[in-house]
Every structure is written in structure tokens, then in C-alpha cells.
Amino acid sequence: MSEPTGSGPATAAAGPAAPVTGAPAIAVRGLRKSFGSKEAVAGIDLDIARGSLAGLVGPNGAGKTTSLSMMTGLLRPDMGSVTINGVSVWTDPVSAKAIIGVVPAEVRLFDRLSGEELLEYSGRLHGLPATEARARTQQLLDVLDLKDDAKRLVADYSTGMRKKAALGCALIHNPQVLFLDEPLEGVDPVSADVIRRLLARFAGSGSTVLFSSHVMELVEQVCDHVSIINAGRIVVTGTTDEVRGGKTLQQAFIDLVGARGNDGEGLSWLGSSSG
């Protein structure tokens, strides 16, 4: 693929821009992707500041996963460019892959490895010496509350444990920018809290986090920057307070994306009082 050029300001009705100090950690320009006749991502421009904990929210099928896959070099865009800390993902993948960590939506790990082996594997894949990878593995297992299950096969892990293991894999090489796709989907509240605190600590140290979610409460609680994506376009982006505009994020989101469906009219038999 020849390096695509920006396709101009494609975002529809972008909201107030986030205050970006210096070069952004993640800069996306004119990103597009179609699958057959369906346009999954219809031209995205996005800047995420360094040290930001940013959320990308949108309804199911809005293009969150496709966008994140293109930003991390795992899905070739039809058009557009992505730079991470000044490094172009699609022209210099060697440098780009060294500074990012990724937790994909469907956490498919090497499930015939034990949790401990999986983290060591991820560290060594990213070029850490085996001894260093093993030392970091033990620390991460401890923080992620997986120490007791370290020698069990990942195949026997619950969803929450898999998400935590995947997060450990993404963090072990201390990336500058972390991408997470639905990091708390199917995770119990205790594990979710562990993940949340770890992300906040990571971003607090000056690293950048971008995660997608459709859980508005979570995004509202932890993110300082929010972008709402719908039908493959960023409809608004800015600080959490700006996007909220005095309402809850949930309400702002519904107002922007639009409520759907009827209220179950026709189900007159449903409920205790119906007999």
C-alpha cells in the first residue's frame, strides 16, 4: 500500500477539539476502510494528547474495533495515516510496534500456555531478555491478582482473568501508547477495578491510553478525553466535560447517536400484572 495521504477534514460535525499540548501521542488523519460495499470507517481524524486516558465510545458496529485495528497496524486502511508519538504506523511498523501495546476485543490468547508462560512469551516477543521478562511477569501477575493461577492453562481462565492476562501481555514491554478494545467487557467488578487502577497509574506516568467501550459510566469515570464514533465517523471529540455538556455522558451519547427501538409495545402479556 502506498502511504495514504490525509483525505481532508472528514469528521462530521466534530465537537470542541481537545487541548493538545505538543505533538499528539496518537494522530489519525482521514482513516477509511470499507468491507465490500459497507463503509466501516468513513474518514476519521483524531488527536490524542500524550499522557491522556482517552475513550472511544460508540454503539455496536460503529467502527470502533476497525479503527483501533488500523491504528495498531493490524488492519490495512483503504486511506489515511496514523502516527504514534511521531512514528508512522504504516511506513515504519518496526518502530511503531515497539512503542505500542494492544489488548484486542476478543481476547484470543495462546491458551495452551500457563498465565505465567504467556506473559513471559509476550515480553520475550517484544525483545526483553528472558530474565527480565520473567521478573516483570512475576510483578505483573502480582498486581493483576493472577499469582495463584499463574501455573494454570489460560484455556481454563475465566473471561476476566483472560482480560487481565491480555493486559499484562500488552504492558510487559512498557509501551508508550496502549490500545484496548472493550477492556472491561465481561469482567467482574473486582477485576474491573484492578484494571481501572492500573490504567490510571499507567496514564498518570505520562503514557497514553486509548480504549474503546460502550460502557458510558466507565468512560465517564476514568477518561479525561472522549470521542464518540457513530456509523464510521467521529461525531464529537473533546475533554470528557466538553463532550458531556452538563449532562451525563450516557445522555449526551444518546442525544448524539439517537435512541432506537420501541418500548416493547405488543408485549401486553409480559409482566406479573398481565396474568
Binding site: G73, P93, I100, V102, L113, E117, Y121, L125, K151, R152
Partner: protein
Amino acid sequence: MAWLLVRLKLRLLGNALRSTTGAKVSFILSTIVAAAVAVGLFISLAALRHNGAAVDLTAVTFTTFAFGWLILPLLTFGLDATLDPATLALYPLRTRPLVTGLLAASAAGAWPAANVIGDLGITVGLAHGAFAVFIAVIAVALQVLFCITLARLVTTALAGLLRSRRGRDLAALALIPLFALYETFAQVIPNMAEKGSLTAASFAGIDQWLRWLPPGLAAHSVVDASTGHPATAIARLAIVAAVIVVLAALWARSLARALVTADTSTQSAAVRGAGTLPFPRSGLRGTIAARFWVYQRRDPSALIVWGITVIVSVVASVSSLRGNGNPLIGVLLSAGFGGAFVGVFHSNAVGITGPAFLFEALALPDRRALRAWFAGQDQALALIGVPLVIVVPFLLAAITGHPLNGFLGVAVGLAAVGAGLALSNLFTAWLPYPVEKRAGSPTPRAVGGYTGQALVGTLGSLIGVAILISPVAVGVALTGSAAAAIRMPALLAAGALWGFALSAAGVALAASAAEGKLPELVQLAARSKL
């Protein structure tokens, strides 16, 4: 309830006809095979009419079919939704109607019908007289009922285990002895029969034991009825019926328990040997090799693949083992097939790795890293493949009484492993395809629309290995008159070097082919369902 479950089963069968072409074809094929088995079994049993060992052969046949009923549901668990009691656990059903219903659902379908029709062959083969025919019909009904109840009891008792990861692993591994058994039957039995060392009388000894098992009792009851011992005949059938009642009662109990009990087998603690990964000082190649190496030991699909590779490489030499033909040819064939199958089974490494390949792709930014990925895989596979093509040829050479042939076998085997690995890497880069593990198939198969790639990968590896090892094979053929002290080391070194050179070339070519399409490989691997 019974009728409802029978209709559910029929609907499931009918839906198979409306789903994907692959499912449709496999359903139609299965029905055709069932019909062929029905006709074939009927004719075979009927043809025993004037055979002295008729009852022995019938008892063996009945027992074999009962064994099949016992094993197949374990392998195909998940294909038939009525097999898993958990799918019905949410409904307000009592155990007794559920037992009747599930039994009736089991009896509906092409295979139970084929069993009944085929077994009825004993009305011609064993029964003499009207009363004996009557007893034969009851014996057939009881035999099929016994098979169904036995299969149900075992699947229900093991349902929790079969739903768990560990249970499915164990069930999948059962494929290795089954494949070995099949190959033995296919290769050894016809030959023994041909040479006259296997006759109908050979079964009489087996029947001494089998006659006391329910299938044997059913077969012998017909003979009793034919030879004027109606009381013995009825007593034998009564025992079979009693066994069925006991099995059904046990089944009902285990069904009641299975509906409310979770499986705990996989909640056991640590996996054996888990700890740190091997090859810590070999960089990215060693890291990749470590993952592949652990997978060769822990992934049941990998264990099955190695089991089949060993069986194939032994079976390829069966003719020389039996003393027909040139013993050297057998050893060389065995080594060649062993090496070729190492390649065949890994000719789609990205697809077999599945969605987890994404993790590795994040660390594979350039051609150098991809070279490490392919070389790491080769390293892990060679650690098993090379000893395999050393041990098997020497064993076979020793058995055929020409131990020196082992050296020649190893020379060809090393070249074949190198060629197999090279081709597997090339096909992985050129023609990758997503795979899926379907219920009933312990090894993953190409998803619909990719069977062409799978076929080209398999045949290409086999034919390619045959071509690539030909220089070494020709070397073996042309140096027959040379002194063994020179010939053996020279050929061994040539085979090893040639194999190594091939695998190195394979790594370089595959890495260069994969370099430009890593995102596409990731997307393709993500479509694998493992």
C-alpha cells in the same frame, strides 16, 4: 415428551440439509454410507447361513458395532444437541419422560435404522425356522436398544467432562488409537485373510469370551432357538433385557445428576511442567520455538498430528515388514512419508495458530522477524521430526533383518523433514486459510470456501517432498555397490545437509513472501475458530 424430542432430533437432521453446502454434503454422504452399511451388513450376516462359524462371526460383528456406538458419540459430542443433557436443563422436565424421550430421539436417524436393517441379516444367516426368526427379530431389537442405552449412559455420565476443556482433549486423543486400529484393519487383516492365516475359525476363540456379553448373548439366542433350545434362547434374551433395564436405570440416575452438577475437572490446579519457557538465549527465534514446542506437547491437535505421522510412517513400510518385496524400499518409504507428513500437517501454520497470531504479529514488523518466526517453528518441529525419522527407520530396518538400511532411511528421512518444513513454510506464506474445529472433528479443518487451498497445501507438500528428496533417493540407488563404511556416512551427511539447506531456503522465501501481507495474515488467522 418422547414425540417432542424425536421431532427435535428430526428437525436438527432436517436443518443440516438447509445449512451450509459442507454440512449438506456431509449429511447426505453420511446417509449414503449408513444405507451402504445397512445393505452390506445385512448381506454379510445373511451370507453366513451355511458357515460353520456363523454365530462366532455374528457375535464379533455385534460386539464391534456396540463398541462403535460406545466410542462415536464421545468423539462426535456436540453434533447432536439431544446428546448433551445441559441443553435441556432449563426446562421443567421430569427424569422419566426425559429418559424415554432421549431414548426415542437416539433411535431416530439414519444410523440407528441402518443398524436395525443390517442386524436383521441374522434372520437369514443364523435363524432356522419360524420361531428362530421371531427370536432373531427380538434379538436385533434388544441389540440395538443395548447399543443406544450404553452410548447414552456413557455420554451422559461423561457429559460434564466432555463439555470441559480437559475432557474434550482426552476424547480427541482417542482418535490416535482409533486411527491405528483402522490402519491395522485396513492393512493387516485383508492381507492375513489373503495368506490364509485368518479364517472364520480364528473367531471361535474370541467368541469364547464375547458370547457372555449382551451382543454375544443376543447372537447365541438365535442359534439356541434354531437348534431346539427355546428356553435357553429366551433366558439369554431375558439377560440382555435385564442388562438394558439396569443400564437405563443407571442412565436415569446419571441424567438427573448431570442436569444439576457442574464439571470441576478443569478447576484443578497447575498444569504439569508449567513454569518458564525454554530456549531463553536464542532471541526471537528461540522465543517462537518455545511457544511451538510447548504447543506440540500440550495441544491435543498437535499430539494427534504426531500420532498420525508415526502411524503413517510405520504403515508405509508394512509390505516390507511382512517380508514381501525389497525391505529397503519399505524403510525409505517410511522415512519419506514421515518427513512429508511433518510438512503436510503444518502447511497452514498461521491458520492453525488462529486469532492468537495477532499477538505474535505485533512483534513481527519486518522480514528479519518473520524469518525468526518461520525458523522458530522449524526448530520446534525438527526437535520431534528429526528423532522420528531416525528412530522409525532404524526400528523397521532392524525388524526386517537389515539394520544397515536404517542409515539409508535416516538419510532420506532427514532430507524429507527439511523438504517438508520448507514446503510447509512456503504454503503458510503463499496459501494460508482459516480453519475451524467442528464438533466431532478433533483436528481443525478448512472453513468453507478454502478447501481448495487446503488440498493444494496437502498435495503440494506431498508431491513437493517426493521431488525434493529425489537427489538423495537417487544417491541411495546408485551407490549400492560402494563400501558401506564410505557409503553410509556420505549419504547421511548428504541427506542432513540437503534437508538443512532446503529448510533454510524455505524460511528465507516464506519470510519474503509474508513480509508484505502481515495484516492480511492477521485478519485471516482471526477468522480461524479453534
